[in-house]
Structures are given as structure tokens and as C-alpha cells.
Symmetry: C2
Subunit: 227 residues, 2 copies
């Protein structure tokens, strides 16, 4: 009698497999990494600029900028003080693990404590492609409207932290923060959120302090100065 | 001797073929149609609401709302006074001609003068899929930033009219209108643009007058009242 042995195995997609290799490489080099996702114009690049400026005294930062065209974002990240690599996706609407692997190969990981990957501006497709980073961060923004969690649920379910940018515009637009946060809570209970304005700098210290804590606990290094 | 006859033929994609059938159907019923594209939260639904409210006294309007989830947008279009059909793309990041064909089949085209198709909120993918509508309209918005034409060139090249929404937020954000319009002009010379605010209603009459002129000249009907 042939005994059937049930084999339960997670079949990884080609993308997930390479994402897993990226993840291992980042772990080996003790590089803490974040994948920034957002609608076009929510403020990914501005938040990267501020984060780099705030943390570059204490750590080495690298940025991978995904765009369908131009190198505007990488130029801004570089000017702020990070190693910056531009990935032009050639029209593709998201980064994938292969693109990130190619970019990582151009970065000196031994000289990097924190890697920020700026995904293509898109609230849909990037949520389906793991890159191998440690956490996924969504930057939403007040002028986009308070219905976004309800309309783009997959993205809100897929993230580890939420940054709500352009909080300074609350008085000038119709945005019900309670309704917005209720949607977030339904999709991703207990999700950490940071309410900030890259323009007025409101809330930025809370955000960079949290990033710094993550880098510290991941790299095992103590903060050189307090932030 | 065999004479070779050069055959030059545009090979249409399956999507383009169905888009062409949609186009013919809309022509046959003399339905003027627009494809609204934009980032999430730029104001597609708000502009549809205002357009429907403004024009519903003179014409019959239908709206096809593309979303990855929920029927929030179709509910709003319906409340404003249009026949509204919701298309949930099941996670897909854009509408395609097949989805629009299915939706058109649920609309009474004999009772429609103007059809507005609200695409999925996305600045990238929708630009690659013709739906069969007469014109493509992009709704951009001030808080998205003035670099968007440079960063999403394909979308800006692909459109017949540009609506710049949330113009009332200009004093509160860093947005160089000249730099933005220069980018637009490079990509799409002479493109018609409407500077509006769905919130304050600034510029809305200019927009609806232009839409009304298009519907009038397409359907051959005279305006019943002046707008």
C-alpha cells in the first residue's frame, strides 16, 4: 500500500524569491530598509529629503528612487545627503524585487545603515510586489481625500506604518480625519500613524525619532546624539 | 516572377479592437464620451458631480465608474442625477475596453447624450488602454506638485484636455504654475487647460461651457438654455 504523504509547501513567485534574497542580503549587512509607497505627489520625496537631512549626521543613508521617467527624485535625495540610485522602470507602474536587486548591487551596503526605497507613485500595483525591505510605509496626504482607505484597501492592508502628510492643509479642504482613521483601523487594526507636514515640519521629529529607533535596534548601534 | 506586394497594416491589439467597437457604438447613438483619468484624490468624482449637476437640465448623462473596490463614486454620480454604472476591476489598476463594453451594455444609449467614464485613480496604467471614448481628459491637482508632467509624461502626452483642480490651494502649497505649464507644453503643445476648484466652484462654468459645446456639436442639438 502506498502511503500518501501530504506535502504542504508555499510556492513562491519569482518575485517573492528574489525579494527573499534581497531581504537576506540586507539582513547580512545589517541595513534597515523601508519601502515608501504613495499616490503621485503625496510627498514621498519630500519626506525622504527631511528624513535624510535629520538622520545623516548619525547614520549612512541610501535611497533607491523608482520612477517611470526622469531622475528628479534621486537628485533631491542625493542633494540631501544620501547615496542615491535612480531606477527608471521604463513605463512599469511599480518596482519589483529584480529592479531593487539591481539597484542594491550599486550601493555600498557596508556603508549603509538605512535604505529607503521610493516606489513609483501609485496606490495600487506596488502593494502586490514585495521588494525584500523590512517594512512597508504608505505616505497618504490630506488633499487626496478621506475615502482613500475604503477605495484602495489592499494598499492600506499591506503596510506597517502610515504617514499622513500635508496635515497643514486640513483647514482648507474637506477631510474628515475620524472617518479616514476609522477606515484605516478596519483594514489594518492598530496601525501606527504619523500626522505630519513636510512643508511646515509639523510632526517630523516624531517620525524621524521612530525611524531612528528602528535603525538603532536593528543595527545594534546606539544613537550618537539625541534627535 | 513573384511580385511582392507590400502590405502595411496596423495590427490592433485585442483591447484596441474592442475600443474601436465601443467607439462605433457611441457614434451610432450619437453619445459624446470622455475618459477621465487622474491620480487618486485629484477630484475626478467631484468634477463629475459638478458637471452632471450643471448639465443634467439640458442633456441626459451617464457615468461609468471604475474602481478597484466600493461603489462610493457611482453612488455620488447617481445622486447628482446621472445613470451610473459601477465597474469593480477586481484589483486591476485601470479600465480596459472590455470592461467599458460590458458597462455600456447596461446603459440606455438611446437616452444618453454625454457619457463620462471615470477611470481608476492612477497616473500610469490608464494611459496605455484606449477605451473607445472620444476624448481623454486628465484631472491634475495643485497639491500633487508642479513636477508631475515631467514625471508622468506618457499620461500628459495621451490627453485631449487638462483640468487643473484645487487651484484654491495655490497660496498654501509650493507650486510653480509656470514650471508646470511649461512641462505640459513640451509634452502636448497647445493642450487646452482649465484651471478650476471643485470646492470653491472657480472656473467650473468655463469647463462645463466647453463640455456643453462639445456635446452640442456632436449630437447636433442646440442648447436648450444658455449655461
Amino acid at each position: 500500500m502506498i502511503k500518501r504523504v501530504p506535502v504542504v509547501e508555499r510556492i513562491m513567485s519569482a518575485n517573492d524569491q528574489i525579494a527573499s534574497e534581497n531581504h537576506k542580503l540586507l539582513n547580512d549587512f545589517r541595513v534597515f530598509s523601508m519601502n515608501f509607497m504613495a499616490s503621485p505627489g503625496a510627498g514621498k520625496t519630500s519626506l525622504i529629503e527631511l528624513t535624510v537631512k535629520e538622520l545623516a549626521n548619525n547614520w549612512e543613508l541610501s535611497v533607491i528612487d523608482g520612477d517611470i521617467a526622469t531622475s528628479i527624485d534621486a537628485d533631491r535625495a542625493s542633494a540631501a545627503g544620501a547615496q542615491a540610485i535612480q531606477v527608471n522602470t521604463g513605463g512599469e507602474c511599480h518596482l519589483d524585487a529584480v529592479m531593487v536587486r539591481s539597484a542594491i548591487q550599486q550601493i555600498d551596503l557596508g556603508l549603509t545603515d538605512l535604505l529607503i526605497v521610493e516606489n513609483v507613485g501609485n496606490l495600487i500595483c506596488p502593494a502586490s510586489f514585495e521588494l525584500g525591505t523590512h517594512i512597508n510605509v504608505l505616505i497618504s496626504s490630506i488633499p487626496e481625500g478621506d475615502d482613500k482607505p475604503y477605495k484602495y484597501p489592499q494598499m492600506y492592508q499591506h503596510i506597517d506604518a502610515l504617514v499622513i502628510n500635508k496635515i497643514d492643509l486640513l483647514p482648507y479642504v474637506d477631510f474628515n480625519l475620524e472617518y479616514f482613521l476609522k477606515g484605516v483601523e478596519i483594514l489594518n487594526p492598530g496601525l501606527l500613524n504619523f500626522q505630519i507636514s513636510c512643508r511646515t515640519k509639523e510632526g517630523i521629529k516624531n517620525w524621524t525619532r521612530w525611524v531612528a529607533e528602528n535603525v538603532t535596534s536593528f543595527t545594534g548601534e546606539e544613537l550618537i546624539t539625541h534627535l
